[in-house]
Symmetry: C2
Subunit: 552 residues, 2 copies
Amino acid sequence: MLAGLMQQVPLTLNLVRERVADLYPNKTVMTRYCDRIHVISYAELLGRAGQLANFLAEIGVERGMRVATLAWNSHRHLELYFAVPCMGAVLHTINARLHALDIARLLAHAEDRVLFVDRSIWRTVGTEIELPSSVHHVVIMEDESDDALDPSTPAGRSATCYEDAIARHGRAFAWPALDENEACGLCYTSGTTGDPKGVLYSHRSATLHTMACLFADGIAMRERDVCLPAVPMFHANAWGFPYAALLAGASLALPCRQTDAASLVELIEAAQVTMATAVPTVWIGLLDHLSKNPSATARIASLKRLPVGGAAIGQSFIDDFARLGIDVMHCWGMTEISPLGLTNIARSDLDADETRSTRTAQGLPIPGCRLRTVDADGERCAQDGKRSGELQISSPWAAAAYFAGSTGQATAADSFVIDEGRAWLKTGDIATIDPHGYVRIVDRAKDLIKSGGEWISSQALELQIMNHPDVREAAAIGRPDPKWQERPLICVVLQSDSAERRARFAREYRDYLAAFFPKWQIPDDVIFSTDLPKGKTGKIDKIALRKAMAGS
Amino acid sequence: MLAGLMQQVPLTLNLVRERVADLYPNKTVMTRYCDRIHVISYAELLGRAGQLANFLAEIGVERGMRVATLAWNSHRHLELYFAVPCMGAVLHTINARLHALDIARLLAHAEDRVLFVDRSIWRTVGTEIELPSSVHHVVIMEDESDDALDPSTPAGRSATCYEDAIARHGRAFAWPALDENEACGLCYTSGTTGDPKGVLYSHRSATLHTMACLFADGIAMRERDVCLPAVPMFHANAWGFPYAALLAGASLALPCRQTDAASLVELIEAAQVTMATAVPTVWIGLLDHLSKNPSATARIASLKRLPVGGAAIGQSFIDDFARLGIDVMHCWGMTEISPLGLTNIARSDLDADETRSTRTAQGLPIPGCRLRTVDADGERCAQDGKRSGELQISSPWAAAAYFAGSTGQATAADSFVIDEGRAWLKTGDIATIDPHGYVRIVDRAKDLIKSGGEWISSQALELQIMNHPDVREAAAIGRPDPKWQERPLICVVLQSDSAERRARFAREYRDYLAAFFPKWQIPDDVIFSTDLPKGKTGKIDKIALRKAMAGS
């Protein structure tokens, strides 16, 4: 092989860190804590990341070790985004909305060495987490001013508060030279579907994904942007927006956990946000707020762009924001692809009707992503906008396997296939691709319910309900919901059906499930039946069930 | 090392080729040949690239072999841009403006296996090229309709015409899986400064550079663009614009060699060009044309963006185009960095005065490029916009060494330095960096003259003039020129100075130099002197000389 003679500069997040230090030291990140607004320059942020790295080195964090976070969107979480990967460790961002049992399971599976946790989370769900033995150290982050919380809470563990931990250390850290294929981040797709499935990002995948967020046809992050990622930083790195903002030199506004409309309006106004991102539920809440508080519209005048993902959106959603002068761009992705794969850009070669009708498609592949749909036999489907098949992705920022963790076994190998001389990730979504390349997700192969941007496993719900002594058969499905996009609904066939037993079950099932699931995952309603529709193989036919329940 | 578990998708130009096939088969490339306009779809172009790859495989072109081109900007040249690298061979684009002696030297140094040459070039300078033995095959490309030229011209070589060569082959080609570090292209910085210095691009460097051309803060290539690279495709891949256009899905308009204003106006109108790029000389010609032909202004109304590089520009240049609704963006680069390193983006944190005054700076580093200036001791200079030092670059698309070629020896190793834990390319330019990161080139360390975007070696001129029996001392410098930016001027001290000898030398030097240099490199004027200014080490002080000659 004749090798090119170009510099071997590894694609690592150090490129982002160094660029910010060189060019954007005075740009800022503003965090809206529940009781105050906090502003810090990027120079200060990186200095504190250096202090943090020194602290982590001191307590024994080495290359490749996992460092967990249970935190909302804040400047401290952002400091972890740089300190942990740039020192060669792996940032494991855990979904703070999970049940304590699931959080403990993830900590154990990932063998996290340290847990960084927001004080507000530690005070609530935190008290119920049984920390696995791998966790040597807990660091409590001061997201609320109440410092009554004793940092020595976890029995037998070293514990400290974040500000105390870093205060003793200098800002200079000897950032090591990293290999671009080293792991930099870990994110689990769902803690509720049996085995947790961890996606282990590499510096290379994260850096390329970050670069892709700067493409003019796409997210188009620019220096003059002020970016508000309202999607949690535990969801695939807040869709990559924080890293993209820093690479582009944009300022950041972080909402902590306050993504209610009033708080967002306040933050948008305070930071003069130009671009924000979250699941549709959040923005539906904002529209609702504006309709009740028309004067708030002027306060968000700086907001121009809204890349939206996590659930499908309709034309009226797009139109409502267009009337406010805000351009909605439909995006699509998943944790396994870092997560962005599609952005909805209007092609110049569409006519007016096509332009309008494609606005609600999930979008076109981002340069660097190659997509295809395949039928049940694994053959490519025609890209005619009609034939649907499983969507599969080849990209340097798509997963090739799940993280085996402490079990030592890679899981869900059937999510990956080698074909046409390359690896493909099987997304589990059913889609069409039209002749212009626009992808539409038409059904979900995976049996999941998506509520407010969070996944709920119907399988996990069904298993627990089936364990109830009164239940013979059960199915959980998503029911369309104007606010949450979907809410779970359970359909139950009782062992000995009677009006009395139905009434009792309807009264009791919430308490029964609360031992296993966080509150927001518990179905709002139960529908009783004497039979559930079945497919040829005897499995419950969820599509038929969803149709039958459409009016419930 | 804990490796991430992401797909290992190699960064190769196949990503561009495949994306175009998937998404943009119906976008087009329009070529303005001297006597006709030719349009072809990208699907057709890639099909022909497949035919071309089959032909090249048939005549023995293997992985890593060099394939030379001597060609202007045309669809056939673009077919070579894909066929050659994507089959694993190396595209060596030779500057068609060089002297036949230099072209022969480059062909020999690169050990090119095949030479693709435009018929118009083959008919002129081509007849004077002594082909080295490495060149087994010559393919003549039909850039003019005159087919009187006998393709068997080169004695003892297999020769054919392009259309005949590919016609016999199918469009399907088994594109191999490539390593991203394989060489894909070769470009020499100058054939006139002693040893040729070849930059051997890798697929990785070319692909990352192509991605960088899509960044919103920068070239910002978009699908809705129609891009006219008027910079020749033999200059660092036309600054990377053709690959960027195809990755973004933009259409292309290629001017062949017709970059005179009238031809450009015609092409801009015909293709509805939105963005064009070339050295300032070309655009100064366009402004001049428009001032004489005001009606032509309406014909270029589609043109909105003008990324300009290759020479410094002034505020009046920017203002003149702004009045036409065209946004000029200063860019800077060099063959060694693929070539883009800086783009002039207005930062949002500048005040109005700063915004205006920075417009003429060379720009800000593109994400992925890290720049520094160092003083004579190799110490970093302060980024205060005042202290100047040599500009050095670290980037995955910057060269780490020059191609040794058939000589087996890497040349000019003093262009590269390892420091701060990474490789730096020493650009040879003297620059300042201001606190916002804007780079200004303030002087040229390398002693080169730049005329109409092409380099002229003052050293090579001086050596030949010094060989003239009447000359005692000589220096060649660039004199500012309204059209060509710089034109060479020679300052001569004669052996026995007299009015008669001066007159004779002034009459004869052009013919004398014509044996060694192409016409455009020959100095327009000679200035006689009895002495030349010298520095402390006895070397001619070019800076003092340029000042003294400023009015000549």
